[in-house]
Symmetry: D2
Subunit: 351 residues, 4 copies
């Protein structure tokens, strides 16, 4: 198979770097362009980018010249790690010009016709794409992936919702510092500390979870109607968001019922063979003190969500704890899996 | 005033050391004895105790000989930082022999007639003492202080309960490592990590909060009936437990109503002049990202609880966040304030 | 005594905040003005300053209007926490206009006639001031305090140099994150990590130590001639720089000789009664695993340097370890002690 | 090739677990036995071992029954992660009985005839084995790997010694918490702190480095004669020891000479094809702020040492900084590479 040429928008940031790392040896995709801000356009990636991940910047991208994020970008598929403000402007321009965009930015997540996708849980929402074409008039296509924390929450809720119906959710998050990008959180703020506020996070959790668990009716997405109350906190963990959940179910379920529905979950068969899809999307831990972010974030190469401490809740029905790798499943890895799904469903030929 | 001679039970542990630190220059109390396990009895405090707090072991205690925790201990008042198992055995023996014990151990917190006290919120529970005398037949007296996390929760709920009635509470805790004593949590477990389980903690929060907010009827404590669902987590913070709360109220209250009732709270006037009582038991922070454990744990010399982010909750009524210094207000400082209250109420003369 | 009105230059930064904290109840000085950048001039301190220290911004300064750092600043004494570039420009202007400046900035540390002072070790260098007046033509006066790490090194070496002669020094530093200001080090760089480079630090250590230990000959400072080789590293510690030292001495000294000369050190008697001077400038720890930054940084209210592990060195003569509080003794506290010394020596009346 | 059956001595500890992790899919070796203390013998590995590494205990070992460390252990090759005291007793017994032991314990590192090996730098020391047989009278064989920190130091010095002659070395270490095993360092000791003492570490660095760089003369190892002065510190880093080095050379060398000799280093050609041997044993970083433990410890799958900041030293000749993964190259990985070398050299058939 000839690899599909792809560009990475916002390639010098922390999520952009993660895209580079995950795509550098990808079986479907080949990085042909890296975009950056005006200020850095024309420089090589090595000159402009302070590589903050472990190890070294891959040799193959060091000498690539950074391009501005314009319609002339090579590659029919673009992964977007753009800051929200810029994504609002650039993503529609590129889509209008015919580019397929798998975006990790929040800019267009709520735009009519733009699917917000976690392949294992709502691949069928891609059927919104004709609506996107008709409403937005783009020749290209935008598919978004959700907020990092929402990823873990929605994946945990999906099998429970399918089996028992989810009505309400308490979610207290303990989020890793890598979720704030680079330079992100000053060490003076987070060392030996907790920052109990993340701008916009609670709102995103509350709205995006309902989009992800929504139903598609006549090509239109109808959001779910789960009442969600979120407390978002930043803690001194590098990678891996931890979320304490209490869940109210329509139909009673014991902890072991819930555990079984979670560990049996595989998602759409379309997804299971994709290169970035983990063998098991949700891993249920039976130890009383797991999952833990440092020890479980890399499960399934960072693409599996780990759930544990499933037990009764005195106010709602069940308590549990979820860990999700926020920059793999919750960011770059999620968008790449979306792109793999688009390939598998034939969307990348058609554009 | 002649100072009251006091002993510290379990003086070599982390909480025992905090008792030493807080009592070394106390206006009412003078340390006359330090107890330790059999193994260490006979050694000097300097020989037996690995001082883990900041700075140095106070000179005054370095050469004190450690005594076993028996009825021959000098001092009519003893502060107990004993491990639960040993406290179960030793505290009743000393109380039987006539010692007044202000205990930070959990052993007797649920024993009939033994008051569980936070002076600002339920000083009137000391009226259980005659019941204790009659039921237990002790010449002495035991007063307990609650679990560290429960301290912060109960103090936050008390003004809300008085003003609006508290019916149900979600509490997700992010607890400091010092709460586990020394050596406590291995660094390999908590560095860059969260441990989402603390044995017995969720149960203590759920039961002790109801004891503290209970009413005294005919000299008997009737526990409150608040439904509490707790998620306890350990995080990489030195001192200061942080608790995300969602609260259901009997009578509706806006965030600003709640904020006012919290910041106006002073507790019993009996307490206000005591040496360890903070000017303001509850400090309401108006910044959107406070309280934070590192920046707020030392408020009121570690005796004030800080509350912030008071906002509506979509499932219950209000969300908020509390920080409490777990080894000052939540442990040694709380027991010392209990002892000061006993003095103020004349209990220490009568024994 | 009427308090001397003082202004703080660069009051909104991390060191500026530490100046506010340490001066708010100072017995000699009263804050009458706070300066900030053009951008913030005119705002109140509460509006412009993100208070990053523990607790809350003191009430007394919240409503003070920020002024630009010009010659119209009220107060004859100014404490400078300006960034180097700005200090280069502003400090000479204010000095020319008659202001006495106690500066923590590095800008003028090497300027002819400008004393670089740690009161306990080289108060006599203030005799350079006539030279400063004649060379610079300023009506006012500038006295500087050294780089944070150099503070700990120079204080440790001074008694050894007096007693045995110091010829060469290896210094490997492990420096706290607060030394980099705010926002300073991104948490993604330092969590679970070491950053083995601090721009300009090794050079400052090597040159400033020699200035501090220099001799005054005919009113001119002649730098010492100690060969210094420094390795500077940033570690995940909040406050407190730790420095591993190996020292070559002219006259042999045993560890206990060195220990005695360090713990006996008191510095000039002029300094001993000053409000910020610690009873003991250097505290020698005898435990085999001390000093430690978290447990020893607050010794002497952050103004004492702690030294330990004094033992032979196979290459030079002695190995030892020093901990200094980098933002108290090593920054704001050091400059305040300089100002107290100026008062004691009558320099503040004469300007 | 039939895999060689191997046992792991001390399999439940932190290094023992790392042996399990690295051997579970090893091309040469197959785990057939796990040993543990008397107390745990008879239990399954899953019952007795609290898995502290990331992810989960491998399925293949969960149900293996733990054996006592006796001569009846199956497998002719044993990897030892025994505590020193027990290794002193058990390793000679097993060796006497004919077992080949690749030990990470320090017990026999100084025993006559027992080679201390880092394959890339002194594979030829295996020629001491006949001496071991004659002196100790063992039917089996013991080969040891050095202390974790010494690994990084000796690997850095070897190419410099070959090219320029190393005469003296200053080494200030900043060592990861995983080096202390589990439970190891209490979090209360190391969070926001440095512990400037590690029992026996400075001595090991000073002696083992000279053994590793020694010469074999007539089948006898003659230690090198490098004067080493070490300062050992524990810092809040999970994995990866960082060492600041100053080196005195017999023949002058510029930083770029040194850099070239380090990055050109490959070690014995015997070693290069071995499964655990990294393509490049020493990676020289050119960035001014690298190597860093978190970003460089995993280079070469944890088997490469990273060196950077090579620059002149004012006292000796060159300064530089080394990072080594302390539990891979510096412990289990190093012993496994030793075993691979024994295979390659035919020692495993002969026993």
């Amino acid at each position: 198979m000839r690899k599909i040429p792809v560009s990475i928008l916002g390639a010098t940031g922390a999520v952009g770097q993660r895209f580079v790392e995950l795509l550098i040896n990808h079986p479907y995709f080949e990085i042909v362009a890296l975009s950056a801000s005006e200020r850095n356009a024309g420089k090589t990636y090595a000159e402009a980018c302070n590589w903050v991940l472990s190890g070294s910047m891959p040799e193959q991208v060091k000498r690539m010249k950074l391009l501005p994020a314009t319609v002339d970008l090579p590659g029919r598929l673009a992964f977007s790690a753009l800051p929200t403000g810029i994504a609002h402007e650039v993503e529609p321009q590129l889509a209008a010009a015919g580019v397929t965009i798998c975006s990790n930015a929040s800019a267009l997540r709520q735009t009519p016709g733009v699917p917000l996708i976690i392949p294992e849980i709502n691949a069928e929402h891609l059927a919104m794409i004709p609506l996107q074409h008709s409403q937005m008039g783009w020749k290209g296509l935008v598919v978004t992936s959700p907020n990092c924390t929402t990823n873990g929450i929605a994946m945990t809720l999906k099998p429970l919702d399918d089996a028992f119906g989810v009505e309400a959710v308490f979610a207290t998050t303990m989020q890793a510092i890598s979720g704030a990008g680079y330079p992100g959180i000053p060490s003076l703020d987070i060392q030996d500390n907790i920052v109990p506020f993340i701008a916009g996070e609670e709102e995103k959790i509350e709205s995006e979870t309902n989009l992800l668990l929504g139903k598609l009716i006549d090509g239109q997405r109808v959001a779910a109607n789960i009442t969600i109350s979120a407390h978002a906190n930043r803690v001194a963990v590098m990678d891996g968001h931890t979320i304490a959940l209490s869940v109210k179910l329509r139909h009673k379920a014991s902890p072991s019922d819930a555990s079984m529905s979670l560990s049996d979950f595989r998602g759409s068969s379309l997804v299971q063979g994709l290169p970035s899809a983990p063998a098991q999307p949700i891993i249920v831990r039976s130890e009383q003190n797991r999952p833990q972010p440092r020890r479980d974030r890399d499960s399934g190469a960072g693409m599996s969500v780990s759930v544990g401490r499933i037990r009764p809740c005195k106010i709602l029905d069940l308590r549990m704890l979820t860990v999700v790798h926020n920059t793999v499943r919750g960011a770059a890895g999620g968008s790449i899996l979306n792109a793999e799904l688009l390939c598998a469903m034939g969307y990348l030929e058609s554009v």
